[in-house]
Structure formats: C-alpha cells, structure tokens
Symmetry: C3
Subunit: 255 residues, 3 copies
C-alpha cells in the first residue's frame, strides 16, 4: 500500500492503496514509519506522491465507520503522529499531488515543505465540514500558515474543494505541473535544495518551520480527545454514513 | 434608518439613512440590536447591505461635530459594541457592499464573515488618517487579519481609498458582483453555508474567527479612552471641520 | 561612500561605494548615523537609494573575509544597529531599489516603510543560504512580515534570487518603476505621506510597525552571538571564500 523508490538521495514514498489511496490506520502507520526511516537509510529528502489522477482520498470513511471506539481513537492518534512526522521531519519533504486530494489528502500536503500539483480536472481542499467533521485546530492552524487567516476562514468554514488553478491562486499549493511531470518536478525541487550548503539550509529550514513544529511540541491530547469525541457525534456519524452510501453506489455503478 | 428583509433563513439588514448611510449614534445602536435579535428571531444568517451606490459613508462627521464630550464618548463605546457584535455573532454575516464604503463603511465589512462588493466607480478603504483620525488598534488589527501586515501598513498609514478591483486584489473584499446582484450573491453565499452540516460549520467557524473574537474578550476601555481623547485633539478637530465644510459645500452645489 | 541629497522635506541617502555598493563596516555605520541625523536636520522623510543598476550587493564578503574576530563581531553589531534604526525610524523611509539587491541589499528594504524597485534585468532576494549563511532570525522575521510564512519559507530556505516582477508578485517589493524614475517615485511616495495630517499619520504608522519595532526592543545579544559564531563555521567560511574567488575572477575578467 506504499511503494518506495529511491532517486539518488531523494526517496519517493508513493501511496498505493487502490482505488483512491484512502488512508487506513495501517497506511497511516506505514507512511509515518517510512518517513522516519528515510534519514536512517541515508536519504536526504523525501517526495510524497500518489497514483495517476489520485493522490489520496483522505481518511477511508467507509472503512473507518466499521472501526470501534478503540480503533477510532488509535486512528486519530496515529494520524496526528503522521502529521508530526511531516511537520518535524529532519529531511525536506515535497508533495507531488498527482491528482484528487480532498480532506486528508490535502492535509498531508499542508505539513510538507513544498507542494506541486498535477494540472487537470482534479479537486483539492479541506472539505471536512461538508462531511460533518469540524476542522481540527492543528489542521486549521497549518492552513492559516499557508494561505493566511482570511482564506483559511473562507476555505475551512465552507469546506471548499478547489481546482488546481484555484489552489495555486489561494496558496494551497505552490506550483502546478503536467500530470506526467509532477513527481519529477518534486524530485528536482528536492535536489535543488540538496545542492545548497547543507548546514545553512538545514538551519534556515528549521527556523522557517519552527512555528509549525511548535504545534506538536505542545500536549495535543486534549485536542485529540475532542476530535475523537466529535467523530461519534450524531451529526458527524449521520453525515459520514450518507457519504459512505454515496461512495458505495458510485463504486457499484462504475464497476 | 435600517430596513429589515427576510429571505427565508437569511435576514438582510439594509442601511437606509439618506443620503449616504452615514453612521449616527442611533443607527449604530439600531444595527447592533438588529444583529443581536436576528438569532432570537430564528434567522440563521445575516446580510448587511446598503443603498444602491452607497453602502455607508462611515461615521456622520458633520453630525458628530455637534456632539458634546459625553455623546462622543457614547458614540465610540457604541461603535465598538457594534464591531463586537459583528465579530462575535453566532450567525454568519455577509457584507453586501453596494457602493461607496469609506472609513467606517469599510470597518463594518472587516468584521463580517465575507465581503461582496459592487463593481463600479466606487471607493472603499480606511481613509481615517486622511481625515485626521489615527486608525484605532482593533480596526488595524482586523485589517491586518484580512490583508496581512504589509498591505495593512500601506493602506492604513496612507489612508488609501481603493476601487473595487484594487480592493479585491488587496484582499479587502472577497468577491465583486454587478451592482444589481451584490445583495443576492451575499444571500446565496449565506445559504450555501447553511446547507452544510450545521454543527461542523459552526464549530469550524468559531475556531477560524477565534482571533477576531479574542480582541473583544480583552478590556478595550483603555483603547477607547485613547480613541475618544484623540477625537478632541486640535489636529483631528481642525481636519474634521474642514471635511465637514467641504461636504456641506458639495451638498449645496449638487442640490 | 554615502551621498546625501535634500529634496525639500525628503532626504535621499544614496549608497555610493563602487563598484557594487557592498556594505563595509564603515558604510553601515555611516548609513545608520545618516538615518538618525535626518530628523535632527529637520527632514521629515528619507529615501534610501543606490547607483544605477546597483542598489547594494549586500555585505562586502571579500573585504569581510579579511576582518578578524573582533571586527566581524563589530560588523554584525553595527549591522543589527542599522536594521534597528530603519525599523524604528521616526521618519518614514522609502527604499528606491535602483538595481541589483542580493542578500544584505534586500535586507535593508525589508525594514523600510515601502519599496520601489527598478524594472530590468536585476536580481533581488535573500540568497544568504546560497553563500553559506543561515538566515538570521530577525531577518527571517521581517521577511515573513512582508510575504507571509509560506513564501518566507520558500524564499529563505532556497536562498532564491528573483526578478523585479517575481519580487512584486511575492510581495518582497511594493511597486516597480522604470530605472530612471525609481528615485523620484520614492520621493513622491514620501511627499504624499507628508501631505497627510501628521499626527494621525505618525500615530497610525507607529502602530502598524509596532511588531517590527518589537524585535529590537528585545535583547538581541544571544541571537547576535549565534550569528557571529556561525560566520566562523567551516562550511560558511569555505562557501564565502569560494564566492570571493568567483567575484575576484569576474572582476578581473571584466576589467
């Protein structure tokens, strides 16, 4: 469910969980471990990519609706641990957003160093509110850091999904590329960074990302307890179940 | 001086104090009370609009120059109370900026959730400095939140008035619309928000606006005392009286 | 090495240290003193300009490589004192960026009130990382204030040099002008500010720049000690010496 490719010093972690690269608890754990192991393996930068036309569909809602209370609690703890590993990674991480990236798919990119997105009829955005999930504070905070308070309020409260061009204009992604080039562009971006004097680059990078890291140096347990409790709220459950039903019908009708 | 229209769940509060919808102490109080009563009346969102070509001329300077010390103090306390009711409203508020919106007209929009502005030969901006009034901290803070520190310094210190297109580019408004459509667009924006799962929307909205609300959870009395004292400063009085004279001549010459 | 011209109330301080207006310790001190004396001389605003096509090449690296430990320590203390005098100047300061402005050349502009840049084949940007110097916190902080955290991370970590058009798009400069007009435009900008009611302008300006001034109201000695120690780090010394060699060859080949 996660393919690993080494391009010289740059390790590509490619989400590979068909059909939509939706995030299960196991994929979340695997991705975090792969990020953590990259430096130990001597890699110097990471590219996080997905499948053609599908970067990641975010949390696998139909699967998660089958999780019990304990597994849901584990899932959210693991998801926050993944975000922490992205935010505090000693290696630069470029997101190669190869296609659709709603909700959790967008979230992954927020915590990377830089975001390339494939041009095309793809959607990206934090549509959590649309599916009944209030945006967790750490995620809204990371969004504000990228796009500013005004755009974060607009995008987050409305749960808006954007085209690649709209995402670029809002600052949600940094560059667009043709679908066939988006991974190479992300690798190239990493290599450019690695050509710099490494001490100066690392030290400036740490300073520039200190506010992002600071979120995870706090005790996030109270926030997590709130996020987990929210998952079981009647409105959220009802909205998620309606979503799962729509997804099920869509899958059947296109099968 | 304030007309109220209900469009299903959306209550429109239309400034109606000819000729320019300038803000008297009474209109300020009426607007705050109307905002506060909207939720109690079962409305779920608010649109703040004005007259064709004239949203609001801001504080009614010629009128205010006749106020004594006590009335001026009351006016500023009421104006801050109005801003607080906008910033902390439990209902989303869209501004339908139907035309000219200098100074206080712009300020109202800063504290709303979203701002539509009519295309046309209209002016918007915080030109307080031009008329001798230093920008109060809470207003500069709200401006920075929308447009960032660099633009806030440029716009605020220079007291600049912008065209609708310039305001859009700076982030002072969010969308432009033809004059005949600006109110409907604001109503439609509210309805889109109301179609979302309400708990998730409300909770994300509260989080996204917490920094704005935090301004009003502090003791603003020292700031208010400074703003009120400033009103009576010789430079401010002289500049305001020159402005009132120009407005008077203009009104006569166009009568 | 610094020419002074008075244009009515506006004092122009023109960097004049051929060939590239690189900053020596003496020029840094002279510039700070000139800024501090402008108000005492009755001037009401300052324009900081450079030579045609060359605003400032930043710190004079070949010269600085000949400095001993004591002189390097003095240089950085004086450079921070200069930035403080820009950030906390009682007079508005417009930068007229007449041409190339890498590294320290860009830094000067960050702390001014407003930045005009000459159109043309010029480069601007904080390329410190490219030459082995981690971006000092106060400089990254001023960059974030102008361009936001996302752009500051991109520009600062990558050590990117931009064209004037790219700098305008990123918010690193505020306006472009033809090379022959950039100084006049900066003077004109100052005059517009001086036409405003002075008390309201000054008071709003102080408020809008309070966050920038606050950096210098703290004890910056620990930060300075780190910046100075970094100068002597092997990677930094090696990278700076390679740069000085390239500059030397270039100068010989074009002589």
């Amino acid at each position: 469910m996660l393919s690993v490719f080494d391009h010289s010093s740059v390790r590509e972690l490619r989400l590979n969980r068909p059909p939509a690269n939706a995030l299960s608890c196991e994929l979340i754990v695997a991705l975090r471990e792969a990020i953590e192991v990259a430096a130990a393996d001597g890699r110097r930068a990471v590219v996080l990519s997905g499948s053609p036309a599908r970067f990641s569909g975010g949390l696998d809602v139909p699967l998660l609706l089958g999780y019990d209370h304990e597994k849901v609690a584990t899932l959210w703890h693991e998801f926050y641990a993944l975000l922490k590993s992205l935010a505090m990674s000693p290696l630069p991480i470029a997101a190669a957003i190869t296609g659709h990236a709603p909700a959790g798919g967008t979230v992954l990119g927020l915590f990377c160093d830089y975001r390339f997105m494939a041009e095309g009829d793809f959607k990206i955005g934090l549509n959590e509110v649309q599916v009944g999930i209030p945006l967790p504070p750490v995620i809204l905070g990371a969004l504000r850091r990228l796009v500013g308070p005004r755009q974060a309020e607009r995008l987050g409260v409305g749960g808006l999904l954007l085209s690649p061009a709209q995402a670029l204009a809002a600052g949600l992604v940094d560059e667009l590329a043709p679908p066939g080039e988006v991974i190479d562009r992300a690798i190239g971006w990493c290599q450019t960074l690695l050509d710099l004097p490494p001490g100066a680059m690392r030290s400036t990078r740490k300073l520039a990302r200190a506010d992002l890291a600071a979120w995870f140096e706090r005790d996030l347990e109270p926030e997590l307890q709130q996020v987990i409790a929210q998952w079981w709220a009647p409105e959220t459950q009802k909205t998620l179940r309606a979503l799962a039903e729509r997804l099920g019908k869509k899958r059947v009708s296109t099968a």
